[in-house]
Symmetry: none
Subunit: 261 residues, 2 copies
């Protein structure tokens, strides 16, 4: 047992990390010093931001002081989107390189992939992908550069295309704001449309579109691609019903993700 401050503090840190909290009196007994000394140790550790001081002891430091709180507003239909997400995730195999653009539906795909943690490469412009993949050891995450847009939590523009043009993927997961037989895939932001189009152009395999029911039949401002270039549409139960009454290209297959699985 070290008798110097540094050794004591290291010991305290270990205990806090293992047990979550420690008390001054326990530590004083265990380390055979006065409680006053323990208090001074804890105060020092707290001033370095390594522990959080409490009355009578200390606790583990809460993660980051400011945690990103995006997910809330993005989750409008959480169960439906999660179902779509895991349905799409099941189509991605080990070794794949996948383009995934921005949007709450595609974020659900990233989250599903993150929990499965397969050895894949994700190329995305969705800024939320960072925290979604924070515990996925096997996922290689490549981020497009570009100008950040707060509203969509994503980057886009010519700088993004610069990066995308360097990378060929064998699958693309594309979220849209409008899915229509006549207008094709559409989004309300020009740069987003350009970035999405660049992704699809660099994809040699399946182009998978994810769209919940409230996007089906909708036409937004800017067109990315037509439905002819899409291989699969993954939607929810209600979306499937709407699509079944539409005229869609022959090569486009529809997958309905059921929430009760």
């Amino acid at each position: 047992m070290s008798t110097i401050p540094a050794g004591r503090q290291q010991h305290i840190l270990l205990r806090i990390r293992r047990e979550g909290t420690v008390t001054v009196s326990d530590l004083a007994l265990e380390l055979e010093v006065s409680e006053l000394t323990i208090r001074r140790d804890l105060d020092q550790l707290a001033s370095r931001g390594l522990v959080e001081r409490t009355h009578g002891g200390a606790t583990e430091r809460r993660t980051l002081a400011v945690e990103p709180d995006y997910p809330q507003k993005a989750q409008e239909y959480p169960t439906e989107k999660a179902a779509i997400g895991s349905r799409v995730a099941s189509m991605i195999e080990e070794g794949d390189t996948v383009y995934i653009n921005s949007g709450s539906s595609t974020l659900a795909v990233i989250q599903a992939l993150a929990t499965e943690d397969k050895a894949i490469t994700i190329v995305t412009n969705n800024a939320d992908a960072f925290w979604a993949c924070k515990e996925s050891e096997n996922i290689r995450l490549i981020f497009c550069g570009g100008v950040y847009r707060q509203r969509s939590h994503s980057v886009s523009g010519s700088l993004s295309a610069l990066v995308i043009n360097q990378i060929n993927a064998n699958k693309a997961v594309i979220g849209v704001d409008g899915f229509s037989p006549s207008a094709g895939l559409t989004t309300p932001i020009l740069e987003e449309a350009e970035t999405t189009r660049a992704m699809i152009e660099q994809t040699v395999g399946a182009v998978i579109v994810v769209a919940a029911a409230n996007k089906i039949g909708v036409v937004s401002n800017y067109r990315t691609i037509g439905l002819e270039e899409v291989d699969v549409l993954v939607t929810d139960q209600e979306g499937g019903d709407i699509v079944s009454q539409m005229e869609i290209p022959a090569g486009l297959s529809i997958l309905v993700a059921t929430t009760t699985q």
Copy 2:
């Protein structure tokens, strides 16, 4: 048992690596020399950056050659870093385009800029910049593309350089893991060093380095640039004391950020 200094110091290093901390008195007994000799050994090892000196002994040095475990390191010395952050932020003016690389110190700069919310453009590879700037209406945030590294919360590599080469900035805020008169600025990750160097090459104005005291005098694995290319070093009180005893280039000015403002 070797009786020459080198052998003793080797032995000390082994013990520190195995046990985390060592005490002067233990080592003196074990190696059968006076405590004074042990202290001299530890001081030498510390000046080479191999151990961290403490009262009564020494501890493992965490900042050298080891990729930092981000969440742990992120908020060490929060007040000092916040002081450095706001000091640097005051040097950025409306209309500036600023390169900011990754690291906990530079994140503090971004946070300070985010609260001031001036009309500036930030170009960064730090993934935490997204949530840091989430309420800053006037800041234009451009993100470098590239491969994401979880440990440092940043992207780097050739894809980042691709984006950086398109953008000229008039200021650069650079965080480092090592600041040394002889070795210059150094970091433990090759790609980070390359990305940082690319940023500096694209900067026509002031290059501002931020480094807390525990980085001063430290040499890490990969060199980014020499001190001759740095215009300003912003550090904390303790760091200022250390730098004042170093030989630094004439063109490099030192700014000390005080916490008691």
